[in-house]
């Protein structure tokens, strides 16, 4: 799914330039705790991080894992520093008023897969076969 479609589905605001709107997103991970995000391998390219954390550490985390885009939920506004850091790293930063559960549900039901780690991979594969 392309970024502009995600924006449309979630009525999202954009905080970074629109030049990356055509980027395709295949997988997503949602958490407010960055160490939990860092447990996922993110071997999958083209990913989005869904979080309520609006400080620069959310961008740093995305940078470390080569995450392409960040969706801030629950109407959280990024700080100026967060926006500047996203731009510097070519990370798309968007925000929605939907909460995390709804945001995930909307994206999942429209075909964006969840990203997992090795430990939970089996569980997720089994579940998707049901």
């Amino acid at each position: 799914m392309k970024i502009y479609k995600i924006k449309e589905l979630l009525k999202a605001k954009q905080y970074t330039d629109k030049n990356l709107d055509d980027k395709i997103i295949n997988g997503a991970y949602a958490s407010d705790l960055m160490s939990d995000v860092l447990t996922t391998n993110f071997y999958e390219e083209n990913s989005i991080l869904i979080s309520g954390l609006n400080n620069p550490q959310v961008i740093r985390t995305a940078e470390m894992l080569d995450i392409d885009a960040i969706l801030l939920v629950r109407g959280k506004k990024p700080t100026d520093e967060t926006i500047a850091m996203a731009k510097e790293n070519d990370i798309v930063l968007i925000g929605t008023d939907f909460n995390m559960y709804h945001s995930c549900g909307i994206l999942y039901s429209n075909g964006v897969k969840g990203i997992t780690n090795e430990k939970n991979k089996k569980l997720c594969v089994q579940n998707s076969k049901k």
Binding site: L33, M34, S51, L53, N55, Q57, T61, M64
Partner: protein
């Protein structure tokens, strides 16, 4: 095996503004040399979690990045106060972080377990003078 390059990065305690900058620099350095993405991501996670640990829990410290023909090493050392119970600190979910740290998105109690999981070889020692973590990633 011969050491090709060595970099040392200093990290200040409680420096939340710059937390992550060293890891960002390490990542850029490894990218420039041309290591594959998976190796870089593992080193980035180890370095970032270590950097946050030094900022949050210690009196300051350093990360030393060593590049060899067949491996990459991270030597992480802080100036105390040391970890009282290493086994407990290695338990997923155990954390002593303050609410301020949690607001930053850290303190999930996954730092050291993440570092261990990303390492091919992992050693930790700690006393009141400080904590030393040695992490190695072998290159194929």
């Amino acid at each position: 095996m011969k050491k090709i390059k060595n970099y040392v990065y200093k990290i200040q305690k409680n420096d939340f503004t710059n937390a992550g900058k060293v890891s960002s620099e390490i990542k850029r350095t490894l990218k420039k040399i041309g290591f594959n993405n998976i190796v870089i991501r593992k080193i980035a996670v180890i370095s970032y979690e270590s950097e946050m640990n030094i900022v949050i829990h210690s009196e300051g410290g350093l990360i030393e990045l060593g590049i060899y023909e067949d491996k990459i090493t991270l030597f992480i050392k802080d100036n105390g106060p040391g970890i009282e119970d290493i086994e407990l600190a290695m338990t997923e979910g155990y954390s002593t972080a303050s609410s301020k740290v949690r607001e930053l998105g850290f303190g999930a109690g996954m730092g050291l377990p993440n570092i261990k999981n990303c390492s091919d070889k992992f050693e930790i020692t700690s006393d009141t003078n400080g904590t030393i973590v040695r992490s190695t990633i072998f290159l194929e």
